[in-house]
């Protein structure tokens, strides 16, 4: 379909119905509805007295995919700081761009965020599309979707990567529909097909029980969201420079339909699990919420942080932001100590690429031992103090 009815503007006058050469428009609940027979000829667009029908070039799938060039990374910023996942996306984007033989670009939205442009160059962006406007200070779906959609229409990237954050997972789907293209969520691996230079996107499905490789052959841009902590960070090159393209940003009344009344930060510090080198994680085997105190002691000795399986979050023992796994955070620390975690497949999906996995569990048949480098069958309330004592011993010796 090449035309779209803007329901808010449609007054139900039926002029379009009469004008349509293909009898493709019907009235449903006093709104014009474009039906199957539409050829996208645009007669209705001209005839509508209320500008309620618009041409939707982007929704048509008959695009020439050769017109689309370049790999874009959504440079998500919050409070004027780039999110860590952006550096990872630039690292991955650089590889993809090199394989396709194209440039790596970042698209940055915010208010007075021009100094981030330089930072994006130093992490590998050849070009930065900058949308700087007071209305873009904080993420809002309508505002960011409009600005980036317009940039996509004008500059036609072939690949767009977004972080699978609460923002990227909101923006990505909206952009994909506006562009009439596909989006693959939460990718853990991206590859370029050496034959046709198209992207292959691999993601977990069925709660991590199955991996699926997804392609988007005939639509552009090819879009992926990527989980934070999965891709390698881009190399920092302080001398690197690039080109900045300033985007025109204009908002009309009602373009942005949500209002942020207040931003509330949690009193507890944000659990930065993706950054942690050492994670001591607890599961149902802790038996009580106080068990996390013991884990915290071990984590401190190892210079790490605590995390949790879903069971503890569901029991209300610890906040969701500490959850590792399919519906929590994906982590790959140097050391992952799983304490009293049985190892449901959803949990394993979120931590099995850790360098060294140590599992402590009373049940010798627990699936966690299948992925552990070192397995200890025993009571965590005995084993952890023993490990801490041993750590103190070697610290004393040094």
């Amino acid at each position: 379909m090449g035309v779209r009815v803007i329901n808010d503007k449609c007054k139900g006058c039926t002029k379009c119905v009469k004008s349509c050469p293909f009898d493709a428009i019907t009235m449903v609940n006093r709104l014009a509805v474009i039906g199957n027979a539409c050829t996208g000829c645009g007669v209705c667009v001209e005839v509508c007295p209320f500008d309620a029908i618009e041409k939707t070039e982007g929704l048509a799938s008959k695009i020439d995919i050769k017109d689309y060039k370049g790999v874009w990374v959504f440079a998500e910023q919050r409070e004027g700081q780039l999110m860590p996942v952006v550096i990872e996306l630039l690292g991955e984007g650089k590889k993809l761009a090199a394989e396709v033989g194209t440039e790596l670009c970042a698209v940055l939205c915010g208010d007075q965020v021009e100094d981030l442009v330089e930072e994006l160059y130093t992490y590998g962006a050849d070009k930065v599309y900058l949308a700087d406007h007071p209305e873009l200070k904080n993420y809002r779906t309508d505002a960011y979707t409009k600005v980036i959609y317009e940039a996509i229409t004008e500059y036609k990237p072939e690949i767009i990567l977004l972080g699978a954050t609460h923002i990227g997972r909101d923006l990505g789907p909206c952009l994909a529909v506006r562009c009439g293209t596909g989006l693959t969520a939460d990718c853990t691996k991206l590859e370029i097909d050496p034959e046709d230079k198209k992207i292959k996107q691999t993601r977990p499905a069925f709660g991590g029980n199955l991996m699926a490789t997804i392609v988007c052959p005939n639509h552009r841009p090819q879009m992926s969201t990527v989980r934070p902590g999965v891709m390698e960070k881009a190399k920092y090159e302080p001398e690197r420079k690039g080109e900045c393209v300033k985007l025109t940003v204009e908002f009309k009344k009602n373009d942005i339909r949500t209002k942020i009344v207040e931003i509330v930060k949690k009193a507890t510090e944000m659990a930065s699990l993706t950054e942690a080198e050492v994670i001591v994680s607890g599961g149902r085997g802790l038996a009580k919420p106080e068990g996390f105190e013991l884990l915290k002691q071990l984590a401190e000795k190892l210079g790490g942080t605590v995390a949790s399986s879903r069971a503890c979050v569901d029991s209300g023992w610890i906040d969701h932001s500490y959850q590792v796994g399919q519906t929590g955070t994906t982590v790959k620390p140097r050391i992952y100590v799983a304490c009293g975690i049985s190892g449901a497949i959803q949990h394993l999906a979120g931590m099995q690429s850790s360098d060294y996995i140590i599992a402590i569990n009373k049940n010798e048949n627990a699936p966690i031992f299948e992925v552990a480098d070192y397995g200890i069958v025993g009571d965590l309330y005995q084993v952890i103090p023993a490990i801490m004592e041993e750590l103190d011993n070697i610290a004393d010796k040094n």
Partner: protein, 261 residues
């Protein structure tokens, strides 16, 4: 006020097992359930109706005829009407095509004030269909909603962020996607179950919602599954032996040896 809830019937992925020999999914015997986030979405609608019984709640799903079992469950929880978008032409849809079909169904129902959906379904975990449906209906959307207050035409929600939340105001009609922190879904009541069987489930195919088969399902899906496979698991390591003290000493020594600590 008219409230619509988008729901999906999903296999309970917590019950999915892997065939240890073939390394494939064992799908037999896996129960089908109302997607957990969708139960929170429905509960949000029911909570509004608790306060204002004049509210009409419809549930809508796209799926095979068996999905009517789940719709019956939603009716038993307290929904008033149920719509099942079921057609061979809808099969093989990715999120993009699914949102086209759902949006067509919602347009046909018409005049909805608030649409609730779950943030994501546990079989795909994409979190895309909610916002995509909103885009197709040209409605404002707020995802990751953990609190909802309705005051006339103004809806005030808390949008969950990784490090807190935002308080967002939006006007009806709008679409909101629910996270599990939003509420505790109620159970079906005996009275509800009895009532549910007196209620009708409306089944629509592509013609009923004014879609041509090319606009639905696999043919309208920009993304395609190229291949799927069981993830390789990391090989099993070493089980340590001895007393607690010996095992603790050994694990520390090993990590030291590998320069991990």
């Amino acid at each position: 006020m008219k409230v619509l809830v988008c729901v999906k019937q999903v296999p309970d992925t917590n019950e999915v097992k892997i065939d240890p020999v073939k390394g494939t999914l064992i799908r037999e015997g896996v129960p089908s359930i109302l997607n957990p986030d969708d139960a929170n979405a429905l509960e949000a609608a029911l909570a509004l109706k608790d306060k204002d019984p004049s509210i009409n709640i419809s549930v809508i799903t796209m799926g095979p005829p068996q999905a009517s079992v789940m719709l019956r469950e939603c009716l038993s929880m307290g929904a008033d009407d149920a719509y099942l978008l079921s057609d061979r032409a809808f099969g093989g849809a990715d999120t993009c095509a699914t949102s086209t079909t759902l949006a067509a169904g919602i347009r046909k129902i018409g005049d909805v004030d608030i649409i609730f959906a779950g943030r994501q379904a546990i079989d795909g975990d994409t979190a895309q269909v909610g916002p995509q449906t909103a885009q197709r209906l040209d409605l404002p959307v707020v995802t990751y909603v953990q609190d909802v207050q309705v005051n006339g035409d103004t809806v005030t929600v808390q949008r969950q962020m990784e490090d807190g939340y935002e308080v967002i105001e939006v006007q009806t009609p709008c679409l909101l996607t629910a996270v599990k922190e939003l509420n505790e879904p109620r159970y079906m009541s005996i009275y509800g179950i009895a009532q549910a069987y007196k209620k009708n489930i409306t089944v629509w195919n592509h013609d009923d919602v004014n879609l041509s088969p090319e606009d639905c399902g696999l043919t309208a899906s920009p993304t395609q599954v190229w291949r799927s496979f069981t993830p390789p698991t990391k090989g099993k390591g070493e089980m340590l032996k001895g007393s607690v003290k010996e095992m603790a000493a050994e694990v520390v020594a090993k990590l030291k040896e590998k320069h991990a600590i």
